[in-house]
């Protein structure tokens, strides 16, 4: 990692910190607030949409890296084009609720674009066998990125959880990519981690601003895209996939459970394991 890369990480952190503060002031002025309801983990109206600071800081770093030749045009388009579409859809949903029948096709479009730009799902290693899933693999990759961006949004339900996940997954994942010599996804992941630190300054419990669907959707999407971008060798998709398991396991098991029990799986609820844990912790603390 060069001094320029280190400087870019500082830039991502600073930009995210300042932008989140600006978004906080804007949300208060414009009344973009998350009002508590029976499903909420908070008790006072709180501004939302602060995650856009992470989006903009990460994409600024991506553009600079592209200008210096460190990031390919295809990776920039996959991360920036699809990422902005996902972030815009989420922000639109934050401001005026939009139905899933509109959101879902836009998410699929962003994911399909990224998979096409990055050359599809590379061969995967299962034990000693390397399996090329072909078109089935490409479709699975589109569905996986779409699920990842949605589940990241579902899991953003208590102060600091989505930012904390982003910081640790990006930090460790970037380190593993760097050890493998894959610097473009490594620096981009670290930039996301640095931006998450800036956001967490305002989102650490008790949060002064929430991430919002724009930021959380972008983070899930970006992790999916960077896992795919770094997976040019058969071994490299598993480490980042493993790092995301804390979110993936909770959301996926919950979804399967709701489908099997005949509940409306697409409606909002507060039945994730982390929400149970947060309620138990709050009760234990109040005793």
């Amino acid at each position: 990692m060069s001094l320029v890369h280190a400087g870019l990480l500082v830039l991502a952190w600073l930009l995210s910190t300042v932008l989140t503060y600006i978004l906080l002031r804007y949300a208060i002025r414009q009344g973009v607030l998350d009002n508590p309801n029976e499903r909420s983990s908070h008790s006072v109206p709180t501004p939302r949409g602060g995650g856009l600071g992470i989006v903009l800081a990460t994409l600024v770093v991506a553009v600079v890296l592209h200008r210096t030749g460190s990031v390919s045009t295809r990776l920039l388009l996959a991360l920036g084009g699809g990422g902005l579409l996902v972030a815009a859809t989420g922000t639109w949903d934050d401001l005026r609720t939009i139905p899933a029948r509109w959101r879902f096709p836009l998410h699929l479009m962003a994911s399909a674009g990224a998979v096409a730009l990055l050359g599809g799902l590379p061969p995967l290693r299962f034990g000693s066998a390397v399996v090329d899933l072909g078109w089935i693999g490409h479709i699975l990759a589109v569905l996986a990125i779409t699920w990842l961006l949605n589940l990241y949004n579902f899991m953003d339900g208590i102060d600091g959880i989505a930012g904390g996940e982003a910081l640790t997954v990006a930090g460790i994942g970037g380190g593993l990519f760097a050890l493998a010599g894959q610097w473009p996804p490594a620096i981009l992941l670290w930039a996301m981690g640095a931006a998450a630190v800036g956001f967490l300054h305002w989102n650490w419990p008790p949060a002064r601003i929430f991430m919002g669907d724009g930021g959380s959707g972008f983070l899930g999407y970006a992790f999916g895209v960077l896992a795919l971008a770094g997976a040019r060798e058969p071994c490299h998709i598993w480490p980042l996939a493993i790092l995301l398991i804390a979110f993936v396991a909770d959301a996926t098991v919950n979804l399967i459970r709701r489908v099997i029990s005949g509940q409306k799986w697409y409606t909002a609820h507060c039945n994730h394991a982390y929400q149970h844990a947060a309620r138990r912790w709050a009760i234990a603390r109040s005793r």
């Binding site: 790092l243 398991i245 804390a246 396991a249 138990r280």
Partner: protein
């Protein structure tokens, strides 16, 4: 935050192992998913100790 601790002390080392031993990647993915799905189930059922 517990999710950060899980990533640092459980999933991080497993991911490192998956990077160092590529042939173990899929197995480690299934293993870590199973462990955390079980933890999630216990938390939901209220069986975890306070």
């Amino acid at each position: 935050m517990s999710v950060m601790l899980i990533n640092l002390f459980f999933l991080g080392p497993l991911a490192y192992l998956a990077a160092a031993r590529p042939s173990w990647g899929a197995l480690l993915f299934v293993l870590s998913f199973s462990v955390l799905a079980l933890v999630a189930r216990c938390l939901r059922a209220g069986e975890m100790p306070d």
